[in-house]
């Protein structure tokens, strides 16, 4: 089947830290794979588009190894509760696998489907990784590109993995990963593309002379490491990864970032890691190039910083938490819903007052603030009171790494507050409008 890309967006932290060959996106400690994914979903231009019926989340750095994160993304992005949610957390290939599954859902009448993928760099063992998320809305008609899942491959091949309790991925011999793992699987998938699809995509400009049956479509490869992916891609005649040296490798989100950046011309996008390979044929439609250019600007943007502060020690900080409370108040916490009364949104929603639930505006202006140096959850926490654009009031932390002033325009951004009691508590913080 072929589905269409209806909208695409990225969430790339604006801080960029220098790396050996370029720079990478660096998130603050209060972002994680969920908050980045929510930001990417919220950044989608969904105006006039149908509401998604499904959400697929791909990440090798999900906050919960078991128990799920996709439902949090659905709540914070206000996607409604009549949604099919699932997540793939196996290898960086899963970003592309999610597109295949979405395509199947759409073909079965279960679309449109939101696909989002996110990655947060682990402090050890991920020198080339960056932080970021990508979201795609996939459906049937009127899109930015036609997406056709191609061949897939699976074999037992360990290049990078984690056992239960591992925080940092284990890696096998780099030479095995680089020289055999990705190249072997990607090569098999590329070969299958040639065999199955003598003319899978329309002609493109950047094909290697020996691309053969791929007929000029650029071959883009995302491997278990940027180095291995790049080597295989060049061997297959691809143009090389334009994002890696600007964002770092974004795990399961990286294949989707490559997809959005490829919308200038037809491409065969291959993701291969952990013995799992996947191909997606990408045929841009007329409006695709504009989105690709916008994404390229975001990839190239950001602000250079020397480093991003390490998470605060949080000595003695062990917040009360309760799963029943978190569930009961999820509308207030995650969807920012208050009660509409006399044209105003009362927040937090007063107990016992019936009324239409309405989400708060996500922009406003700072009424007052403080920088608090004694809050045990951070070295300094900036708290601000904001008059929102809908006339309501909000009080919250300023996002880590950000500062605001009285009178400044700010926006509400999803962030991770704490993990008291072992439950990751998400909420909204404040950040300047840029």
């Amino acid at each position: 089947m072929t589905c269409e890309l209806l909208a695409g967006a990225v969430a790339l932290p604006s801080d960029r830290v220098s790396t050996r060959g370029g720079r990478r996106c660096a998130a603050q400690y209060d972002d994680d794979a969920v908050t980045l994914a929510v930001q990417a979903v919220l950044a989608l231009n969904r105006e006039g588009l149908p509401a998604p019926a499904g959400l697929l989340f791909a990440s090798v750095t999900p906050p919960y190894e078991e128990g799920g994160s996709a439902q949090v993304i659905a709540e914070m992005a206000g996607l409604g509760d009549d949604l099919f949610c699932a997540e793939l957390c196996t290898t960086p290939r899963d970003g592309l696998a999610a597109v295949r599954l979405a395509d199947g859902l759409i073909a079965a009448g279960g679309g449109p489907v939101l696909v989002c993928a996110a990655h947060v760099r682990r402090p050890e063992g991920e020198r080339e990784a960056g932080d970021g998320a990508v979201a795609l809305l996939l459906g049937e008609n009127g899109g930015l590109a036609a997406l056709t899942p191609g061949p897939a491959h699976a074999e037992e091949l360990r290049d990078r993995w984690r056992l239960p309790g591992d925080l940092v991925p284990r890696e096998t011999d780099v030479s095995f990963t680089d020289e055999l793992g990705a190249s072997r699987v990607a090569g098999i998938v590329a070969g299958a593309v040639r065999e199955r699809s003598p003319q899978p995509v329309s002609a493109g400009a950047s094909a290697a002379p020996d691309a053969g049956p791929l007929l000029g479509a650029a071959v883009l490869v995302v491997g278990p490491s940027a180095r291995s992916g790049g080597r295989v891609e060049r061997a297959l005649g691809g143009p090389g990864d334009p994002a890696f040296f600007r964002t770092g490798a974004l795990g399961a989100a990286h294949p989707l970032l490559r997809l959005l950046l490829s919308l200038q011309a037809p491409a065969v996008l291959i993701a291969a890691s952990g013995g799992l390979g996947e191909a997606l044929l990408v045929e841009p439609l007329p409006d695709g190039a504009e989105l690709a250019a916008a994404i390229a600007r975001e990839v190239a943007g950001g602000r250079d910083v020397e480093t991003v502060p390490a998470p605060p020690a949080q000595l003695g900080f062990d917040p009360y938490s309760s799963a029943p409370r978190a569930w009961r108040e999820r509308g207030q916490d995650l969807r920012l819903e208050g009660v509409l009364r006399d044209g105003r949104v009362l927040y937090p929603p007063p107990a016992g007052i019936e009324g239409e639930r309405r989400a708060l505006a996500r922009r406003g202006r700072v009424l007052t603030l403080t920088r608090d140096h004694v809050y045990p959850g951070a070295d300094t926490v900036e708290m601000a009171v904001v008059d929102l654009d809908d006339g309501s009031r909000f009080y919250a932390q300023v996002a880590a790494g950000e500062h605001v002033e009285i009178g400044q325009e700010v926006r509400l951004v999803p962030r991770r507050l704490h993990a008291g009691g072992g439950i990751v508590q998400y909420y909204w913080k404040l950040a300047p409008c840029r």
Binding site: A326, P348, T370, Y375, P376, V385, Q425, Y427
Partner: protein, 394 residues
């Protein structure tokens, strides 16, 4: 019958306020309660009921979590004891509850005692850390007590003719006053420069803009005015006492009728207490005020909310010297929370005692000559509760 004008304070006492590692909660409570009964000239057996104000028993092994602490400390069985808790209004609520029992005719001699043991844990492990952990998992995360008043301070500095030096001036004034208060936690004078150089707590507030954490207890004994006359001992009259509550806790931060420049709840409580006491021009009709200076900004805002000056005029009033010792309306001659200290549950009782002592002419070196009527004020939570009492000479 109403409370106003009908309930008398016939005895009061307070422990020393401060960090007292050698004194436990029950010991402090007992010292204050027995001192108040002795001051009233009554035997414990004659006291029919008691109210206990303790705000944060969770930092003192849950002692004071119920009125039974009074029973234990005083061997008070089987008489009824009720614990009340309304944030920093807790102590005044104990007094108000006892006064209501007198006014209702249920009892004719009652005890109200406030006690708090805050320094069995270090300051950083005290209220700030406990509340940071135990408060609402989303709505209050990032909130501290100094942080919530710092929101007001920054807005006030932005909006009005007020500087950080003015804020510091509150601490300087109150520390100077505390030099004449034998129970005060701090009695050394401060300079504006010292206040401004102190480590920042929640900007713009520094360490010396903030009340300390304190151990202490205070108590009053109350009866009806008619019985007080029969006893033939000095007494002060509760001319008015009112509690106002305008919100829950966390929600107060989010409500758009909060201008972060004042506390509506103080104005509501003052309006009722002043009406009960027949006060229409507070600055002219009051001789002395004890108000809730938990942070320096709070005192300036209290001037306005208690009707001592207009909105935005708090700093100018401070600068004029009107609220200093010798001014026309001295405020916090005890040193206030800033320097006398702030054992939360005890504070509301202590400020009632301070004003009662003033109108009885027994405030020692702090005495305002000829004082006949004063006001006591507490403010609770992020400005969601307030208690105002007007205490007068008979």
């Amino acid at each position: 019958m109403p409370i106003a004008g009908e309930v008398a304070i016939i005895g009061s006492a307070a422990t020393r306020f401060g960090v007292m590692h050698d004194r436990g909660y029950l010991e402090l409570l007992a010292e204050a309660a027995r001192g108040a009964m002795a001051d009233a000239g009554v035997e414990q057996d004659d006291v029919q009921a008691a109210w206990l104000g303790t705000a944060e028993p969770i930092i003192a092994a849950l002692l004071g979590d119920a009125g039974t602490a009074v029973t234990e400390a005083l061997d008070f069985a089987p008489r009824p004891v009720t614990r009340v808790s309304t944030f920093c209004c807790t102590g005044m609520e104990a007094v108000r509850a006892g006064a209501m029992a007198i006014a209702a005719g249920e009892h004719d001699l009652v005890l109200a005692v406030g006690a708090e043991k805050m320094r069995d844990v270090p300051p950083r492990g005290s209220l700030v850390a406990r509340t940071a952990n135990l408060t609402h998992p989303t709505l209050a995360k990032g909130r501290t007590a100094p942080g919530q008043f710092a929101l007001l301070a920054n807005r006030y500095l932005h909006q009005y003719d007020c500087t950080v030096e003015d804020l510091a001036g509150v601490a300087v004034k109150n520390h100077a006053n505390a030099a004449h208060n034998p129970i005060a936690q701090y009695s050394d004078p401060l300079t504006v420069e010292q206040v401004l150089r102190a480590p920042r707590v929640a900007e713009p507030l520094g360490l010396l803009d903030c009340t300390p954490t304190t151990d202490g207890a205070a108590a009053v004994v109350m009866t009806s005015v008619s019985r007080a006359r029969e006893l033939g001992r000095p007494y002060a009259v509760i001319e008015g006492i009112a509690l106002a509550v305008v919100d829950g806790y966390y929600a107060g931060f989010f409500h758009d009728d909060n201008d972060y420049l004042s506390f509506r709840v103080t104005r509501e409580a003052a309006a009722v207490a002043y009406r009960q006491a027949g006060i229409t021009a507070p600055r002219e009709q009051l001789d002395v005020v004890e108000c809730h200076d938990c942070f320096t900004i709070t005192e300036l805002v209290n001037y306005e909310d208690l009707g001592l000056c207009g909105r935005g005029e708090g700093a100018a009033m401070l600068r004029s010297g009107a609220t200093s010792a010798g001014g026309d309306i001295p405020v916090n001659l005890s040193g206030g929370l800033q320097a006398c200290g702030h054992p939360v549950g005890a504070t509301g009782v202590r400020v009632i005692k301070e004003i009662a002592d003033q109108v009885l002419g027994r405030a020692g070196e702090r005495q305002v000559a000829g004082a006949r009527r004063g006001a006591a004020h507490t403010l609770g939570g992020p400005g969601v509760a307030s208690c105002v009492a007007v205490i007068g000479a008979p």
